[in-house]
């Protein structure tokens, strides 16, 4: 197909013509330069239309996205001939009569130049978020400055300017300044310290300096030392003295508390104390339970001297206690109680009374625990007042009590059988003889008192010997030096006849067993009292008993147990941990 194409360009009134000849089977029109006829305008598709000859006629067909208009009508395809007008985007194609040897002729003119319309459209379009008056730079500056001010500058000013008053002076409140200091809090404070959580300066006394011991001692001056001041700890002494409070007490680690509980903290020193501080006599502990030695109970070795001994539990033969007392738990815990005496079956709590707080038990005393059943009565009949009872714990008072009782009895005329009155002959007018106690009454009293005292002291059912040992050799009661001469009852009053008793209220004093927190268990779960017939039996169970419930510190199926579960670090009995004045650390 031979085509004559004339391009018209208007400059004012002048019209410029540029004619070219195109020879192709199909003539394409479009923005692309590979078109036979290029229409260089942005509004035209790359290939916008194709002109082809078919069946002797010419047809134009739209190819681009935009339709073409033939003689004003939007059509996908149309037959064209001389006189027809085709609009392709902003271009107008006018078909004319072809010259000789040409199949068609057309003139092309840009009738809608891109001018004001496009400029206006572009001007009023706001594409891109930058055009919507947002600037990343400005937003970034705002973000940086705001956070730096609120999170850095203001808290520093509040701290340095002391804008949060000391909690000792002012009741802490949630003021604006407090909010700023709290915003720096790197973790929850322990519950007891929360009251001054906003007062950073309470502990952090100066900037860029780690918390000193002095800050802690301001409140905790009396905290106990870990070991006796004189204990020979070798190189560990320096280490112990050099350890800061914060080494073990880490604050901001949560509500749970600020004492580090891990065994590793203690084991660090305690794993080889036998080597590093042999003089201390402390056994090594590597872990619990595997690396923990068997418990040692503090038992009475000699009640007469009060000598104590630390004895390992669970050994063979079992350790023995020597409190200086005959006592059988089994005999007290008999089934059914004591019906002839009118006593019900006994339970542990009848004698073992928890101390306030429930940690342990009140000491066992005759007055509280024994007296109600074991009255120290030595005669069935009373004086007009109850009197046939000897005092407990007061040996010298025993003789007096017994003697006085029978003297009272004698005065009451209790000497039996009553003797006939003695006839006294005298001269008339002579004074009556002085009223002296009848010699036979005194003898009666002495005789009865001695008999009663023998029974009170020696009878193994009702006397002292029932529970006690005598103060003589091998626990013998030396009655000979004790029993009074009939006429001088008080002469031997100062003699002690009963051996001293030493009963331990705590058998494991180095640990802290809390009975209250174990109240859900029955006593007999741990203490085999029903099987114990002797006071020498040690009813404190060994480590293996604890391990029924307690496991290692990361145990999954047992009570997680670590050093601090049973042991404390600070012991006030050893003095104070740090002298307040020396706490510059």
């Amino acid at each position: 197909m031979q085509l004559e194409v004339t391009l018209l360009t208007r400059r004012g009134a002048a019209v410029m013509h540029r004619t070219q000849s195109v020879n192709a089977e199909r003539v394409s029109f479009g923005r692309g330069t590979n078109n036979e006829v290029a229409l260089p305008d942005i509004r035209v598709a790359l290939v916008a239309a194709v002109l082809a000859s078919r069946d002797g006629g010419l047809f134009i067909e739209a190819r681009g996205d935009a339709p073409i208009r033939v003689n004003g009508a939007t059509v996908p395809m149309a037959a064209v001939g001389p006189g027809d007008e085709v609009l392709i985007g902003p271009y107008r194609l006018l078909f004319a009569e072809p010259p000789e040897n040409y199949d068609a002729a057309l003139s092309i003119e840009l009738v809608q130049p891109m001018g004001d319309a496009l400029d206006m459209l572009v001007a009023q379009s706001r594409i891109g978020l930058g055009a919507a008056a947002w600037s990343k730079r400005v937003l970034s500056w705002i973000g940086f400055t705001a956070v730096a001010l609120v999170c850095l500058a203001v808290p520093i000013i509040v701290y340095s300017g002391g804008l949060v008053p000391s909690w000792r002076e002012v009741q802490p409140g949630l003021t604006a300044a407090a909010l700023f200091t709290l915003s720096w809090n790197p973790g929850e404070l322990s519950n007891t310290h929360r009251q001054f959580a906003a007062d950073c300066a309470a502990c952090h006394q100066s900037a860029f300096t780690a918390v000193r011991d002095g800050a802690c001692l301001a409140c905790h001056a009396g905290v106990g030392a870990h070991a006796e001041k004189t204990a020979e700890l070798g190189p560990l002494r320096g280490r112990l003295d050099g350890t800061r409070c914060t080494a073990c007490h880490e604050e901001h680690r949560g509500l749970g508390g600020l004492v580090i509980q891990e065994a590793a903290l203690c084991v660090n020193c305690h794993r080889n104390l036998a080597e590093t501080a042999p003089a201390a006599g402390i056994r090594d502990v590597a872990s619990f339970p595997a690396g923990h030695p068997q418990f040692r109970a503090t038992l009475v070795a000699d009640s007469a001297t009060g000598r104590l001994a630390r004895v390992e539990l669970g050994g063979k033969p079992p350790p023995r206690d020597a409190p200086g007392l005959h006592f059988s738990h089994a005999a007290h815990l008999v089934k059914g109680g004591f019906p002839p005496l009118g006593y019900k079956e006994m339970v542990c709590a009848d004698c073992h009374v928890a101390e306030p707080g429930g940690l342990g038990f009140l000491p066992i005393t005759y007055e509280r625990q024994c007296k109600s059943c074991h009255a120290l009565k030595f005669d069935r009949t009373d004086l007009p007042w109850p009197g046939a009872v000897v005092p407990h714990g007061d040996d010298s008072g025993i003789v007096a009590a017994v003697w006085n009782y029978y003297a009272g009895k004698a005065l009451q005329g209790g000497i039996a059988p009553p003797a006939a009155p003695v006839l006294v002959r005298r001269a008339p007018g002579s004074p009556a003889p002085a009223a002296e106690l009848p010699r036979d009454a005194l003898a009666w009293v002495a005789q009865r008192a001695e008999a009663a005292l023998r029974e009170v002291i020696l009878d193994d059912k009702r006397g002292c010997a029932y529970c006690h040992f005598g103060s003589g050799p091998q626990g013998a009661f030396e009655t000979a030096k004790f029993l009074p001469s009939p006429m001088a009852p008080a002469a031997s009053a100062r003699v002690r006849i009963v051996a001293p008793v030493v009963m331990r209220a705590r058998f494991l004093p180095k640990a802290r067993f809390n009975h209250a927190s174990h109240a859900a268990s029955a006593c007999e779960d741990c203490h085999a009292a029903r099987q114990s017939a002797s006071s020498g039996d040690v009813l404190i169970p060994g480590k293996e008993n604890c391990l029924r419930c307690h496991g290692p510190e990361r145990a999954a199926l047992k009570v997680q147990s670590t050093c601090t579960t049973c042991h404390g670090f600070h012991h006030t009995e050893f003095g104070v941990m740090r002298e307040t004045g020396s706490a510059a650390r």
């Binding site: 996205d65 319309a117 459209l121 709290l182």
Partner: protein, 318 residues
């Protein structure tokens, strides 16, 4: 993103741009990030400080330092990868190569530049992702209402917005291309401008009311606008849509003589409405690809301030 990607073999699936940076150098930076993440995890698990794991143990300090340095580095390279300017060092190298007569061709230079960009973006994405793990381990999983958790939260926002950005780069260009068809945005604008003129011409014979509608549709061609407008692509006050509604409403009342003229205008309006819908969708997609940066960048700077506060506060009140 590579600007001069070597043509993929015909048999291979053509890798799109985002794939090229995510898979850069055989996932080199993914591997690096996995390595760094694994090392952090090992460090975290190896350290068992008394009282439980937290940011103040030695492993905590290492993780914190690495995290903070990563934040600074990522911010710097986030800036650099967008900057097309050559660094002094590169300029110096290039000058030396020129003096030696081994200067690379401009094509080579361009390719190298593209590769550098892809490398930076790849590193930025993968190391940014692993930062989430490092910082989380640094916290020891302790969180509270304080600047320290604020710092962590801001970092999470930055990283999450970055992840959204990667998703945008992966997802939207395809949609954008499909929406545009064969036209470019300037083309669409030009076409709309032409249609505006056609509309003006075509509306000449019509009644005053319709002419006013058409004139408003021409004058108030709304493309883009406020952030919400751009993002949503919803233009409830679109004058072109109003003109179409108006013309349809007055269809019955129109005189028969003007039917053809009205039809022509109506066709033009439809065409314009279709083009507007397309260009507005294009604007919306572009806005989506841009909006995350308005979160990513400013929050990054807020994060830098929070990081500074976090570090200073910890040592200020030691």
């Amino acid at each position: 993103m590579s600007v001069t990607e070597p043509a993929a073999p015909a048999s291979a699936v053509r890798a799109s741009r985002h794939e090229s940076f995510l898979a850069f150098a055989g996932f080199r930076y993914l591997k690096l990030a996995v390595l760094v993440g694994a090392a952090s995890l090992v460090l975290y698990l190896a350290d068992r400080p008394l009282g439980g794991r937290y940011g103040g143990s030695w492993a905590g300090y290492i993780l914190g330092t690495v995290g903070a340095l990563l934040i600074l580095w990522l911010t710097w390279f986030g800036y650099k990868k967008r900057s097309y300017e050559e660094s002094r060092w590169r300029r110096y190298l290039a000058a030396r190569q020129r003096r030696r007569g081994v200067a690379p061709t401009s094509q080579q230079q361009e390719r190298e530049h593209g590769e550098r960009l892809a490398a930076r973006l790849s590193a930025h994405v993968y190391l940014g992702l692993v930062l989430l793990l490092i910082a989380t381990l640094h916290t020891g999983f302790h969180f509270g209402w304080n600047i320290h958790t604020l710092c962590y939260a801001l970092m999470c926002v930055v990283i999450l917005s970055g992840i959204f950005g990667v998703f945008c780069y992966a997802h939207y260009p395809r949609i954008m291309t499909a929406n545009r068809g064969n036209m470019t945005v300037p083309q669409m604008l030009g076409r709309i401008a032409a249609l505006n003129e056609d509309l003006r011409r075509g509306a000449m014979p019509l009644d005053n009311a319709t002419t006013a509608l058409i004139e408003r549709a021409v004058e108030e061609t709304e493309i883009g606008g406020s952030v919400w407008r751009q993002l949503s692509g919803r233009y409830p006050n679109c004058a072109t849509a109003a003109a179409i509604r108006g013309m349809d409403a007055s269809l019955a009342a129109a005189p028969a003589a003007l039917t053809e003229a009205r039809r022509q205008v109506r066709v033009l309006l439809d065409e314009k409405a279709a083009l507007l819908a397309r260009i507005r969708r294009d604007v919306a997609i572009k806005a989506m690809m841009e909006i995350w940066l308005y979160c990513h960048v400013p929050v990054t700077f807020a994060l830098l301030a929070a990081l500074l506060a976090h570090i200073v506060s910890v040592f200020f009140l030691w």
